[in-house]
């Protein structure tokens, strides 16, 4: 194999850069998937008061600021060793589940859904939100907009702002909600559940299409990895808090741990061709970008969360969960097809909507007791939530005055870097054989592979259009470029 050195300084900003190296027979030897990465976050944080972190870190990402806000608030709680009052915790969870409704709705209907609703063979120009509206009607588009609007309104009521909430602080929340605001959220919650039911029914109807069924069940993007995600005390899917459970490819429970112990379970493999490190399970070990029980690569996000839990935490979502496994894995072992992530995401949307309804109907939700004032000397703390794109961990160290001295972040997508790289490799292998390179559809197939993960590599609002810009270079065994495919 010829070693390829890629100078990261010359990488194309904002593009997913992919290098495909062929062997002597003209088959794929290796695929290298590079992505841009933001820099300097730790040095940016050091010297700041830890209580600033929830407001600061939600600026990291324009896509899921609520996830960073919650992880940071939880880490700050831990730094001060303070327990959030029940009402404060419920408000955080209420906000966070409303965010899940907006985020999952956007991903399904605007990003991944078009490939499914329009069909994978539809012209590229039609596989977007406008095509969806034309095909299924303006009413459906309106439902999506209304669901987003409802979620954003809940975030605004509880978080103080429609985007980039600012009310999470060490020990709880800065403000309670009024009875009028509670009643407004109640009405919005009903609409969210209706939207969740509609979306699951729509997905059911789509499964009748053989091409869609192939995406959801097919082998193209199947990887038999470990899975990881938060579960609650009843072993159900949870987004805000819980223990991290890990299962093996065959479904056997590998372990369960408190998120603060993540360094005992997870290591990161450095590869010379990419800035981003590959997380893997310490107890299994790094075997390269391969799946199977001997490889420590694990998958997070909707596919991972549903695979590790014994069910969903709410009734309608549980009903959908049972149908999902009855269809895709009747024996209850993990579902490995990445295309199933789209279905899993809608089941999670339903759980989030139902959770909003449950929480807002709790008599204590309007309690004024939403914050415990920290009294302990600050030291170190870990905050972990399930972001839509995977387990998100914030780890802060402070001096005795609560000033940040060190920061470590593991963002959701980072956990999935290994599986994503494997999906890109598999897509390349499916269209390159014995020196024959089927360029038609190669970019689409690669894009559909990693869209299921909804990767957020920039973890910011950086230069990435709705259609993922890509640069694919295919090289011969000596590293000479054979072909370059580019889409801006």
């Amino acid at each position: 194999m010829t070693r390829i050195s890629i100078d990261p300084v010359t990488r194309l900003e904002g593009h997913g850069k992919i290098e495909i190296l062929l062997d002597e027979a003209g088959d794929v030897e290796h695929t290298y998937f590079q992505i841009p990465e933001l820099r300097g976050f730790e040095s940016f944080c050091v010297g700041r008061p830890v209580e600033d972190m929830p407001a600061l870190t939600n600026r990291i990402c324009g896509v899921c600021p609520e996830a960073h806000h919650m992880a940071a608030a939880k880490a700050a709680d831990a730094v001060y060793g303070v327990t959030v009052p029940r009402a404060g915790r419920m408000l955080r969870e209420l906000l966070y589940n409303a965010f899940y409704v907006t985020d999952h709705a956007t991903h399904f209907y605007v990003l991944s859904g078009p490939d499914l609703i329009m069909g994978p063979d539809a012209p590229k120009a039609e596989r977007n939100i406008l095509g969806v509206i034309k095909k299924v009607g303006a009413e459906v588009g309106g439902k999506v907009i209304d669901a987003r609007k409802a979620g954003h309104r809940v975030i605004e009521i509880i978080g103080g702002r429609r985007i980039h909430p600012c009310t999470g602080v060490p020990g709880g929340m800065t403000k309670a909600i009024s009875e009028e605001e509670r009643d407004e959220i109640k009405a919005l919650a009903d609409g969210m559940i209706e939207f969740g039911s509609f979306s699951l029914e729509l997905f059911d109807s789509m499964l009748a299409d053989e091409a869609i069924e192939e995406i959801v069940k097919g082998d193209l993007y199947t990887h038999r990895t470990y899975y990881s995600g938060l579960v609650d005390a009843a072993d159900k899917v949870t987004f805000y808090d819980g223990q991290i459970k890990v299962v093996a490819p065959d479904g056997e429970v590998f372990g369960q741990y408190d998120p603060k112990d993540y360094r005992d379970w997870i290591s990161e493999k450095v590869e010379p061709w990419t800035f981003l490190k590959f997380p893997y399970l310490k107890g299994v070990g790094w075997k390269g970008l391969v799946d199977g029980k001997d490889s420590g690569i694990y998958t997070v996000a909707p596919l991972g969360r549903l695979n590790v839990a014994s069910g969903m935490a709410t009734p309608r979502a549980q009903e959908a969960y049972e149908k999902y496994f009855a269809t895709l894995s009747p024996d209850g072992t993990p579902v490995h097809s990445r295309g199933a992530t789209h279905w899993a995401r809608l089941i999670e949307l339903m759980q989030a909507a139902e959770t909003v309804q449950q929480l807002v109907n709790d008599p204590e939700i309007t309690s004024r007791d939403v914050r415990a004032i920290p009294t302990e000397v600050p030291t170190e703390g870990v905050g972990t939530v399930e972001a839509p794109r995977g387990t998100l961990t914030h780890h802060y160290w402070t001096d005795e005055n609560g000033v940040i001295t060190r920061v470590n972040l593991i963002v959701g997508t980072t956990n999935n870097y290994g599986p994503i790289a494997m999906s890109v490799d598999k897509a390349a292998r499916s269209l390159i054989s014995k020196g024959t390179i089927v360029t038609e559809g190669l970019l689409d197939r690669i894009e559909m592979g990693f869209r299921a993960y909804d990767p957020c590599f920039g973890c910011a609002t950086h230069t990435m259009p709705g259609q993922m810009p890509m640069l694919v270079t295919i090289r011969d065994k000596d590293g000479n470029p054979l072909k370059e495919l580019r889409r801006d």
Partner: protein, 183 residues
């Protein structure tokens, strides 16, 4: 596209009274030069004017479209990555003439390109600006955390603010090819 819905129906998108102009500065204010759009809004806020609403935002795609609903005109101020242009250059051109992959925030990989989002919004009956101008400030990189702008980009802030004012007052109508205000 508006024939897809009944007149007066907008599926919850009508969030502002039409007839106003919105100037929205895009970017991430903690990502160095990437946040220059916010600084231009700060600069405009210092000026005496009643010609437009000002907003700072860190969104793209459908979320950006939702911000524009109800406005008759819009001006978007955004950081631009263009290896062929000098950092600190400022230009003004219609959205239709902008290579959106170069503009940092007009789109989102998790969402839809702004032009598609606008078409979708109109298909849903939303009132959206009939014309959208983009004031672009060329930056060299926007991937390093920091609250400070580079010197060359900071120097472009008043130039970009002047370009916005010019566009607002119709003093600097853009050509289809766009117009370089300062290089």
């Amino acid at each position: 596209m508006t024939d897809l819905v009944e007149p007066g129906t907008a599926y919850g998108l009508r969030i502002a009274e039409p007839g106003h102009t919105l100037v929205v500065g895009l970017g991430n204010p903690i990502l160095g030069d990437d946040g220059v759009g916010w600084r231009v809004i700060d600069e405009l806020d210092e000026l005496e004017h009643d010609e437009a609403s000002l907003q700072q935002a860190c969104v793209g795609g459908v979320s950006l479209m939702e911000l524009l609903v109800g406005y008759r005109h819009a001006i978007i101020v955004d950081a631009i990555i263009d290896p062929d242009a000098e950092p600190g250059s400022v230009w003004c051109r219609p959205l239709s003439a902008v290579e959106t992959q170069d503009a940092s925030h007009l789109d989102s990989t998790h969402d839809a390109p702004l032009p598609a989002a606008i078409e979708a919004g109109r298909a849903l009956g939303a009132v959206l600006p009939s014309d959208i101008e983009v004031v672009g400030i060329v930056i060299e990189r926007g991937d390093v955390f920091g609250e400070q702008l580079s010197d060359v980009v900071a120097a472009a802030v008043p130039v970009a603010a002047a370009a916005v004012v010019g566009a607002l007052r119709g003093l600097r109508p853009s050509s289809p090819q766009g117009e370089t205000v300062h290089a």
